[in-house]
Amino acid sequence: MKTLREFGRMPIALTGPALAVLLVVFGIPIVQLFLTSFNAPAFSTGNYKAFFGQPANVRVLFQTIEISVVATAICLLIGYPTAYLIVAASKRLRMALIVLVLVPYLTSGLVVTYAWIVILGDGGLINNLLVDHGLISSPLPLIYNRMAVYIGMVHIMLPMMILPLVSAMMGIDKSLMAAARSMGARPATAFWRVFFPLSMPGVRSGCLLVFVVCLGFYIAPAALGGLGDAMLSTFIASQVRSSFDMGRVAASAFVLLAVAIVVLSMVGLDLSGTSRRTAQPSLKSWHRLGEFFISYRAKRWIAQLYRAGGDGRWPQLVGIMFLALVMFYLLFPEVLVVIMSFSAGKYLQFPPSGFSLQWYESFFGDPSWYAAAWMSIQIGFMVVILSTIIGTLAAFGLNRALPRLRSFLTMAMLTPITFPVIVVGIATYLGLLKLGLLGSMTGIVLAHTIGAIGYVLVIVSASLANFDPQLEQAAMSMRAGPLQTFMRVTLPLIRPGIIGGAVFAFLHSFDEVVITSLVGGISMRTLPLKMWEDIRHQIDPTIAAVATLFILLPLVVLMILFVAGWRSTLGLQRARPVPAA
């Protein structure tokens, strides 16, 4: 009786630590920030008036939405067929393809953006090739325009679109399609009437994630775009940099947040993917919207792809070529950076003038580099310990909570990774300011932990969803205590989820640059900060060597995951919030 009561009370208590950290570091500050934006306690809309009073701000706001919408649409157009082809592939090939998609997803966005500069630049790879072969006389303007911004953004976001899609498509019962065909539906009809609607949850969460993350972009547009390709985050960041007027910055941040929230609520707030039923009502309207912005050509094209599974060699070939092209697009920049890091020249160039290890020597021989790396590793491990414990507890608590409470709390705990990063950064800054932890290692650890908890929560929740609670009951019935049951039954079964969560928590911390640059103060130099600094000041290939280490890291991580028993689950459970497969 007593254990039962404890059991009944436990769930919510388990989310306590996570909620406490989130509230103190992020939750309360964001409310304060909101009040500040209205000049509380006097309450005036002055800051918002000032924001909308500047025509430049309004134009940049619309431009931000426009760029995000277009980038999301491109991601969907490329991502949907890619995911379809991945799912249609043999089991082994599918595994390999998922890993290949994961690699760029896990690579630092900074590094990738930087690789695109080398590829698209006036003296870059493409232009050099064309000029050398006499195809053009002067370089084509491939960089510093909107097109380059899309190329860079889509490259970073595509995995985030493909993975939820793959996850959703894997859950679709193939026999439904066969049934449709057997009843005389043409392949296109079967696809369009059966498969596509069933894949909508994946489309929805993919688009949502991509769109919201795009809203907060600022490094890629600044580095690849032209004069006019500014995004709101760029403006907010420069406001923070020049004169820190909290009210003004808060107002701009909440305008951006409002856009994100409007979109989130339009498409359905259920990011946690915990219950499928709640997703259904909004599906219809979304379906219509989906049809609206997927062009007719894409429809026909996807339909043809479906036929690829059936008869005819030619369509199959097209499918393979398409997949190869997407993989090339995803992986080529990484390969390029690795090659450049072994360059013998003093400048970034491709192909490199010779082979040398000097840039690795320069990395390991320069205290400002290895000290930064060491600091990032320390912070990363502290974040892993903190967020894995707190996040796992929270996942347990939520797993046993009422469904409605569960989806509300999951939503709340995911805000640090679903809100535009610049907003999170400014709120965290305010939170740490109150705690007196700005510019300290503890402060950075806390700032990273709030995001890392989200990753741990999602991944552990996913493995808990597949976990059969009857196993625990069985153990208890055989007189195992609650602790013993947890250690001997529950923990071993959800270990892959916990390890996965820990790994993503580490990567989240190791890669974070925007929030860290705001809360890091003067003397805290993490590796991504040092890289960002160096990209602006240095032009030697040390940066490529560092980037290579950054690319190798995810590969090591994937191996860890593989060894940790993700073999079977990798395709099904994803790090990002995706609907339950």
Partner: protein, 366 residues
């Protein structure tokens, strides 16, 4: 006014008193190896600082220098000062920010009593401000690719000619205006025919009208030194406005570019001590040490920026000395940037810098 003056006086007096009293302890501190935390900018700049400043200073005084290889950020600095949580003793800071920071009382006064007479006399006037000591002099100047503009063909000599895209065709770059102060405003006005001595106060409308004309011909409005260096190296642009140091570095490596010092826009950077820094005395000593002629001469040979201490030129071969913006030969054709104007606050509470940034943000979207 009176009260301000009195406060200043008291500040000054106490600084001198503190300097005098701390003479003995300072020597003791040298033996027991005190510390100074110095921010040294990033990249090669920091490396040159380590070589020319940090190691000799440690050898002479026994004070340990903890370097921070980053550039100064006003927002972070403001935050640390306002939270009484200053973590750095010496910062590199531009003239505009020096004015802002000292106006807000964020900077320690420089104790000029510990400087040698002849060193102090040799220092350029603008380098000796109450709250900062000049570290380097540099300029934004015109640079062209000499394959595109060889010596036997006409080359653009003035900003008016830089604007003349018909007579001097070629791909161009100018610095971005998003930070206000270091944007191409003076150049735009000179190109529009304004004489150099009538630049300030800047006529913002006229500057933007002039920029309208050159806008379609600018390949990229560069934001960082590494960008302009890479662009000139890759021959992406034929005609540029560049930091002189970046161009000199390229020339030293054999790049096909040349600098035109006519109408160069000169400015400088300084060392300053944040209020309530952890080791203010060591910071005073460090700055005094690294602004000596011999140290600056050592530094500028590693990093091609001009010295603020004119005596440094005596220690440099003429070929090296000519690389620097502060070389006496260039002074007649040089415009000195007026940071004071940029940091002036108007009736609406905004600085000229803020206004120009806002205007720029609108202009780029047109």
């Amino acid at each position: 006014m009176v009260s301000i003056n009195r406060r200043r006086f008291i500040h000054g007096a106490s600084a001198i008193a503190a300097g005098a009293m701390s003479y003995q302890p300072r020597r003791a501190a040298a033996q027991s190896a005190g510390e100074v935390i110095a921010m040294l900018n990033g990249g090669d700049y920091a490396k040159a600082c380590m070589e020319a400043y940090v190691r000799p200073f440690e050898a002479e005084t026994g004070i340990k220098v903890t370097p921070i290889t980053d550039e100064f950020s006003m927002a972070k600095f403001e935050l640390e000062v306002s939270n009484n949580n200053v973590s750095v003793d010496v910062v590199p800071i531009g003239p505009g920010l020096t004015l802002q920071a000292s106006r807000k009382g964020y900077l320690e006064e420089i104790d000029y009593s510990i400087y040698k007479r002849d060193e102090l006399d040799a220092m350029l006037d603008f380098a000796k401000s109450p709250h900062s000591v000049g570290s380097i002099v540099y300029a934004l100047c015109m640079v062209y690719n000499i394959e595109k503009f060889p010596a036997n063909k006409p080359r653009p000599a003035t900003w008016a000619e830089f604007w003349d895209v018909v007579k001097y065709p070629g791909v161009r770059t100018l610095p971005t205006g998003e930070y206000g102060e270091y944007g191409p405003w003076e150049e735009a006005l000179l190109a529009d025919g304004l004489p150099a001595d009538a630049l300030y106060p800047l006529d913002i409308d006229r500057a933007f009208a002039s920029l309208d004309k050159i806008k379609p011909h600018i390949r990229k409005w560069f934001a960082t030194g590494s960008e302009i260096q890479q662009m000139l190296h890759d021959k992406v642009v034929d005609l540029a406005e560049s930091y002189d140091g970046r161009a000199v570095a390229l020339i030293d490596q054999g790049a096909q570019v040349e600098i035109n010092r006519n109408q160069q826009k000169m400015t400088w950077e300084s060392w300053a001590i944040p209020k309530d820094s952890p080791n203010p005395e060591n910071a005073q000593r460090f700055i005094e040490f690294i602004t000596r002629a011999d140290r600056q001469a050592a530094f500028v040979q590693l990093m091609p920026y001009g010295p603020t201490n004119r005596n440094a030129f005596k220690l440099l071969p003429e070929a090296v000395a000519r690389k620097f913006a502060s070389h006496p030969d260039y002074s007649a054709s040089t415009i000195t940037m007026d940071s004071k104007w940029y940091s002036e606050v108007g009736s609406d509470g905004k600085t000229n810098n803020d206004k120009i940034i806002q205007r720029w943000n609108e202009w780029i979207l047109q």
